[in-house]
Symmetry: C2
Subunit: 298 residues, 2 copies
């Protein structure tokens, strides 16, 4: 695949075509993820009739007054205590305060961004929580910047070396199949990003995190970004099925709710997407849908 | 009482005497507050033996490696789901990053600060949550600044005009008895401060908030600050006793836990003390002890 020099402006048709392809991918990935989790709910409740009805996703569309919008998919089920997914495609102009803080916006405040993000909090404390997000951005119009970003990371409540190793191995193998996939660098970036400085502790067991991926190989970078989603969709449901029948105690549950406090602290104190979104008038419900359903600070 | 021109340096003896008096007051107020809440617990559990044992405060001393420390007082009881109080007296030098952001520290980074802070989250959703804090600061040594700050504010879970009106009336009457007490200004400051911008909603029903109180009348300003504590100690236990027997449903409890999420959002996104403390290496347990014991983001 021929590389496109990222400093050369793309024509409108090319830009639009790339945006449409990315946006369509995020929606199709969302559909497959929703199916996979609804299947987990059906299988679990079939085996455990006492657990009640299988969870189903509820879709909540939202629009952004300044341009664009998205659809939240939320499930509260028997295995999945809360899974919140969001696909969004937004566009507009950055305010003067923000302008210049984001690549490509210094001379032209226009932006276009599309992505999928997902956070799952599980009822069973032995099933790790998870986060996955991929996105495609285009800032500054024709002469500006275009890049992919995203990642996936695991937050075990009960430390489990097997699950963590399998999750990382899947991401490592996937990265190795792509020129754009630099697993050691993206793993370090993830460890650095998902860190609670005030407690001097990591949020979870890591994964990968990448951003500003714009080396001129759109096809390769898009393929890598798709594969982040595919790998998540393959490995995480396996970990859920592996642990969802593990018996747990009230003490385990209490520990889980306390650990979720760390997740809240991270999101509100450090997460760029959350703090940026809330300070720039983003959709509060969509931004905070990742918050855990129940939390304790005893 | 003769006013002292705040621009005239105080001698070491005077400075130390003022600091010692303020620090001693915060500790004595803490003791009386703890007694009042333990009495509530005893009275309630005597009338409701099924509610279990009366809550008692546990004291947890802590030290600050750079200088000073404090004592946390925490109770989990039958009426009081979590009450966390803290008295602290800390001193040292502000780091170069902080220096200049705080009055009096531009030419001399030394500071001394003492205070009491308290947050109460109650089991019964019809009993409002409350926050009270008063403090005395001395920055920049002899030629620097000295001031009082603090306030008290109410967070009803179920809107209740009577409780809110009584709380405000007590603060209003108290303010009217002091030259330093400007109720309309402090009420507005409180409303402005305890505001969740991202949701465009207030955190609660307000109260008073004041800071940088340094008009040269130490005795008058100290008397006002003491009266903030006295007024809190008089009015809040009355509101607790008024509502602690009100029957409530699971739906009321759910609503309470959701509303507490707003409290968390405020503290981690906006509260100056919390964000400043966490970013400057403060005692995490003492800073976050105000977090609600149980919270939901459904």
């Amino acid at each position: 695949m021929a590389k496109h020099d990222p400093s050369t402006p793309l024509g409108d048709d090319d830009r639009t075509a790339r945006q449409e392809r990315a946006q369509a991918w995020f929606a199709s990935l969302r559909d497959r993820i929703c199916s996979a989790f609804e299947q987990i709910e059906q299988d679990y409740t079939a085996a455990h009739p006492e657990a009640g009805a299988a969870g189903q996703f509820e879709q909540r569309p939202w629009t952004r007054p300044e341009g664009g919008g998205g659809v939240m998919s939320i499930m509260h089920g028997a295995v999945i205590e809360k899974l919140a997914g969001n696909i969004s495609t937004v566009h507009g102009e950055f305010s003067p305060q923000i302008r210049g803080q984001i690549p490509g916006t210094k001379d032209d405040p226009r932006f276009w961004a599309s992505g999928i993000s997902l956070v799952a909090h599980m009822r069973n404390p032995f099933v790790p929580a998870v986060h996955m997000n991929t996105r495609y951005l285009n800032t500054g119009g024709e002469g500006g910047k275009r890049w992919f970003g995203g990642g996936a990371d695991l937050t075990p409540i009960m430390p489990n070396e097997t699950d963590t190793a399998d999750f990382h191995a899947a991401l490592n193998t996937m990265c190795d199949g792509h020129d754009a996939g630099d697993y050691p660098a993206y793993k370090d970036w993830c460890d650095e990003y998902f860190y609670l400085k005030h407690r001097d502790e990591p949020r979870g067991a890591g994964g990968i995190f990448y951003d500003y991926l714009d080396d001129g190989d759109f096809e390769g970078e898009f393929a890598f970004t798709r594969d982040v989603g595919e790998t998540f969709l393959d490995i995480y449901p396996k970990l859920v099925r592996r642990r969802m029948d593990t018996p747990f105690t009230e003490d385990d549950r209490h520990h889980q709710l306390v650990r979720r406090g760390r997740y809240v602290e991270f999101n509100l104190l450090y997460d760029r997407g959350t703090t940026f979104g809330l300070k720039t008038g983003g959709n509060v419900e969509a931004i905070l849908m990742s918050m855990p359903p129940e939390v304790r600070w005893p």
